[in-house]
Amino acid sequence: MPSPTCRPASGCLSSPHENRALPSLNLIGQSLLAGLFTGGLYALLGLGLSLTWGLLRVINLANFALAFLGAYLTYQLATAFRLDPILTLVVIVPGFFVVGIGLELGFLRFKINELTSLIVTFGLTVILESLIQWIWTADFRRLEWPYTRVSLRIGTLFVGLTGLLAFGAAALLTLGTWAWLRWSYLGKAARASAQDGPMAGAFGVNRRRLALLLAGLSAAYAAVAGLFIALNHTLAPSQIYSWIGVVFAAVIIGRLGNALGLLAASVFIAASEALTMAVTAPGWAPLVSFTLLIVILLLRPEL
């Protein structure tokens, strides 16, 4: 299993060789931009995790494997049927919504708590990884599509189109989810249920249906994350694990169930990683997010 340091997300835009000289402003700008886009992917991957953990008390590691399954399905549909990758979501998102509901039904049936959910969903992750490897082998796959290599030029900076799209989707979904949780009746009911389930029930909230809806949504978000992983990265089954650590950090630093906090934390972590890479060696990047995570856990352990 690879360590988080071989995550391909970040290294692509900065120079890989050690550059001890003071980096140019351009390099810093380019790094921050890369950080912004990578942060978008973190947020997309973290959204489902944050919702199920914060609101349903299920820590769903399988979210990462689902995202990769989504990425591979996008790759497959796009290469086999020449379907536009973005259009594949029309099929994958509803399918994943149903899968999410199915998973939650299982968790409810067996009264899975936070700790056991972590282990059970790790088991699911391993199974999904094997499934992916069985179907698509362990070889690297790269989705080639006309717009995957397009980059726009703004001043002296280059902006990859798919990266921009990923960040746009992340911003749209996190803001949308945040607004939904904040202002809609269903969203308020979801937050109330997480704080005192029986009382929310006493005022008419059907908690079971709400939980299924949230679980379905979370899986659907994983499908969207999968699309952008396929568009921005080379796929390999073992890559599933390389995202877990940093996305967990973003979810916790952003506060559980807080979509806006998640987006901010994701961008902050990714940008500081990118800066660390630009200023020191690329390998130092994970130190920032995980040190931050440790400090936050020790200072504010109540989640």
Binding site: T116, F122, I127, Q133, L298, P301
Partner: protein, 582 residues
């Protein structure tokens, strides 16, 4: 259980000798490698279990400490030319120091339990791997150890590694067994079930967790040092791998984290499965299978394979031998502190506030040695808070609490227990996964008496007899009804041989007949020389039982004296029934 009839160390010794002789059979190298891997995983899973299984602090960072050992040996042998064998103690020590350093910080934060502890240790793995990758420790390309000489003890170098792994595996199994049967292990189990109650019963939770963590890391570092040599080429990705930690967790969970031999079983089963299905597509299938097993075990066998076996054993041997043990043990009497002049407990202006709510607004009261004091007051008047403050569960905001003249306001709960104070809980809080007798034995071991495990168990049976629970000694607390659970709480409090026992609503929820039993029991406790403070709402019982009552209202003492007088006090009537009553 088999374990109680045979000395359990014996099978371990036999297995150890047998395994040590395997290389002499000159089997194909494949077998030795396979056995090495089993021993490797036994060491990792068992060492993980010493903290995480016994005390319930799930670490997702075992790979970090394993990795510390791997890189200690790798660095010392290649960069400094230290002979391989000499690096092993260093590998263990570096890991242990690292672990205790982290533990010393983490275990001071009360909120970092359960999954948060897991995430924190996970983050430690990533931090260490990043440091190793970017410094001379590794530097990126990995470290080759092929040129490092391995001393030959009995046969080939590979055999040396095998023997070393066997030694570490045996060390970890023996350690797990010894802890399992020690007071330390008992304390760790109690921490896993209910850490706060354990602390109040006298278990030094902080120290116990710290040492367990250090030992767990030490063994992981040791096997890491050996494994570095086994793989001859170490990389950060393969070493600080979350997968490695999770594999160890899975083995322990599969075997049963509540049992010293659970991780051994789990490691053997999973390694055998993995090795028997290698190569090509079956390797993928094999991984999926392991994932499936993990899910099934967690969902259907929460106590693992060993738990499944143990449950059958417990049913078969509902030991008539043990339950028939006569009450040979004389119950210790509470030490007589009959200086009527000095109060046993004196609270002076004790204050406690929660988020602006003044739960205790300066409580001053005395408890005299040998009396039964009723502590009463309307709902929310601060009675339970007072008990929590006196027993050390909460820190006071101000004021003095003296137990037999000694100030205990800033003393940690487990030390207060040692000074002779015990309590029960409004809703009984038993250790769910300890048998009834062990619940009580724990108190005998960690309370004022400080008995050994065996004597603690014998005393526990006597205390259970005292509370009328001897027939349930081998049951689990969940199998008891409410009255029995309350009496268990009480027996547990008594077993710590307190001079003062605080009873929090022992009577609520009982039927009138049960209540009569309970009242008698409380009287017998006092007759044995223990001073009793009880919080109660059932006034009949208070009038019946108390020598003296103290009435709290809005966190202050509004009356004290003889029960019948106090109940006529207009201010008390007002506090209870509302103003202007009668």
């Amino acid at each position: 259980m088999i374990a109680s009839r045979l000395p359990p160390a014996l099978p371990l010794v036999v297995a150890g000798v047998a395994l040590a002789l395997v290389p002499a059979l000159k089997l194909p190298a494949f077998y030795e490698t396979f056995l090495y891997l089993v021993l490797f995983w036994v060491s990792l899973a068992t060492s993980w279990n010493i903290l995480s299984g016994y005390a319930g602090y799930f670490s997702f960072g075992h790979a970090a400490f394993f990795g510390a050992g791997v890189y200690t040996t790798a660095t010392l042998t290649t960069a400094v030319d230290v002979p391989f064998l000499w690096t092993l103690p260093a590998a263990g020590l570096v890991a242990a120091l690292l672990g205790s350093g982290i533990a010393a910080v983490v275990f001071r934060v009360r909120g970092v339990r359960g999954e948060l502890f897991g995430l924190l240790t996970l983050a430690v793995t990533f931090v260490l791997s990043t440091i190793a990758l970017n410094t001379k420790i590794d530097g990126g390309p990995g470290v080759f150890l092929a040129a490092v000489p391995i001393p030959t003890l009995f046969g080939a170098p590979a055999t040396t590694l095998y023997h070393l792994a066997l030694a570490v595996a045996l060390l970890s199994a023996f350690a797990a067994l010894a802890i399992y049967r020690s007071r330390w292990g008992m304390g760790l189990f109690a921490i896993r079930d209910d850490e706060d109650v354990a602390e109040v019963l006298g278990v030094p939770t902080y120290r116990y967790k710290l040492v367990a963590f250090a030992l767990s890391c030490f063994i992981a570092g040791l096997i890491g040092g050996i494994h570095a040599m086994f793989v001859t080429y170490v990389t950060v990705a393969e070493t600080f791998s979350v997968g490695l930690t999770v594999d160890a967790i899975m083995m322990a969970a599969l075997g049963g984290t509540r049992f010293w031999y659970g991780p051994v079983l789990g490691a053997a089963i999973v390694t055998a499965l993995t090795q028997s299905l290698t190569g090509g597509e079956s390797a993928i299938l094999n991984r999926a299978l392991i994932g499936g097993i993990l899910i099934v075990v967690i969902v259907f066998l929460p106590d693992g394979v060993a738990g499944g076996l143990g449950r059958r054993g417990r049913r078969a041997a509902v030991s008539p031998v043990e339950t028939a043990t006569p009450l040979a043990v004389e119950l210790p009497r509470a030490p007589a502190t009959w200086q009527a002049a000095a109060p046993l407990l004196a609270c002076t202006d004790v204050k406690k506030a929660f988020r602006g709510l003044q739960a205790l607004a300066g409580v001053t009261l005395e408890v005299r040695a040998g009396e039964i004091l009723g502590l009463i007051g309307p709902n929310g008047s601060g009675k339970s808070t007072l008990i929590n403050v006196v027993s050390g569960y909460y820190q006071t905001d101000g004021g003095r609490i003296a137990l037999d003249g000694r100030d205990i306001a800033r003393v940690r709960a487990h030390r207060i227990a040692g000074l002779g104070l015990a309590r029960t809980y409004q809703i009984p809080r038993s250790f769910r996964r300890l048998s009834v007798v062990d619940n009580v034995a724990l108190a005998a071991m960690f309370g004022g008496g400080g008995h050994g495990r065996e004597r603690g168990r014998r005393l526990a049976r006597s205390w259970l007899a005292f509370a009328g629970l001897e027939a349930k000694a081998d049951a689990l607390p969940d199998e008891l009804n409410l009255l029995e659970r309350k009496f268990l709480d009480l027996a547990r409090a008594l077993a710590s041989e307190p001079r003062l026992v605080l009873l929090d609503e022992v009577l609520s929820g009982l039927t009138p007949a049960q209540m009569t039993d309970a009242l008698q029991l409380v009287r017998r406790i006092r007759d044995r020389g223990t001073t009793v403070v009880f919080v109660e709402h059932i006034m009949r019982a208070v009038l019946d039982l108390a020598d003296r009552v103290v009435v709290l209202s809005y966190g202050q003492v509004i009356a004290e004296g003889l029960p019948r007088q106090v109940m006529r006090d207009p201010e008390v009537v007002r506090a209870y029934l509302g103003k202007a009553y009668a």
